[in-house]
């Protein structure tokens, strides 16, 4: 009986990590694709909504939007599998991943000061997240 319960709990934790990995990957791909598409879009954005709608037809922007919507849904699913105090600090790593992707694929200059700022944001976000949950929810 206890072994079965432990086995189910282990599978639940594994599922939570799989959904977490999927969320981080979707968010990273979404942000990168959106940034790539927007940087290559010829029209500069303004208060006029039309260029935004036109930009959404760009394949990279569209892929970015779809990936970010899927990331949002995955995050909701993740909240049903794990505590907020676990989800928020771990997903904050996404800020560092975004900086890496910008540096590698978009050839951005990331200064030491920007790395420091990003790391501080991750630490701060982790602290805010770990102290903001309402109730303890056990992983299935």
């Amino acid at each position: 009986m206890t072994a079965t319960k432990e086995k189910r709990q282990g599978a639940g934790i594994l599922r939570a990590y799989a959904v977490l990995a999927l969320f981080i990957a979707l968010k990273a791909v979404g942000n990168l694709s959106l940034a790539w598409g927007m940087k290559h879009f010829p029209q500069v954005m303004s208060a006029n909504p039309l260029p935004y709608l036109r930009a959404m037809l760009d394949p990279f922007v569209a892929l970015g939007i779809v990936a970010l919507i899927l990331a949002l849904l995955t995050r909701m699913a993740l909240f049903s599998l794990a505590d907020l105090s676990f989800v928020l600090p771990v997903t904050a790593v996404g800020y560092i991943i975004a900086a890496f992707l910008g540096k590698i694929f978009l050839h951005e200059t990331v200064t030491a000061q920007r790395w420091t700022g990003t790391i501080l944001i991750v630490v701060g976000a982790a602290l805010v997240g770990s102290g903001s949950h309402k109730t303890e929810i056990e992983i299935e």
């Binding site: 942000n31 990168l32 959106l34 940034a35 927007m38 940087k39 879009f41 500069v44 954005m45 909504p49 935004y52 930009a55 922007v61 909701m76 699913a77 909240f79 049903s80 904050a92 996404g94 800020y95 975004a98 900086a99 992707l101 910008g102 540096k103 978009l106 951005e108 200059t109 990331v110 000061q113 920007r114 420091t116 700022g117 990003t118 790391i119 501080l120 944001i121 991750v122 630490v123 701060g124 976000a125 982790a126 602290l127 805010v128 997240g129 770990s130 102290g131 903001s132």
Partner: protein, 119 residues
């Protein structure tokens, strides 16, 4: 220009999160299964604050689109975390939530990080 876009994105995100939090607490718990999501969509359609929250989310997303067009991704994504600072402050002042020392310290550290990003 970049700080105007960051400001717009953060204000819209904070407004959307506060409206969602306020209205979802009144609406009761929702599951995230297929049936739960359908019920959630029904709740959104019935509650005007939630419709406003979705509109704010759209403004936040369009600001992010404009921001990544002109600014590096390595700036735009971490800068969006500035919403943590205002959400923590407004959670205390508007929603009357308990904000502990750890959460307040986290928001201050995020503020330091955003200041470093911008310089």
């Amino acid at each position: 220009m970049k700080w105007i876009l960051v400001g717009l994105m953060v204000v819209a995100t904070v407004a959307s999160d506060l409206l969602q939090s306020y209205e979802m607490k009144r609406a009761g718990e929702h599951s995230v299964g297929a049936r739960g999501l359908l019920r959630l969509l029904g709740t959104i359609a019935r509650r005007r604050y939630l419709i406003l929250a979705v509109a704010c989310m759209a403004v936040s997303f369009f600001s992010f689109m404009a921001l990544v067009q002109v600014e590096p991704l390595s700036f735009a994504v971490p800068a969006s975390a500035a919403s943590f600072i205002f959400e923590t402050l407004l959670a205390k002042l508007v929603l009357h939530e308990h904000v502990g020392v750890r959460r307040a310290a986290g928001a201050l550290i995020v503020l330091c990080g955003v200041v470093l990003l911008g310089e």
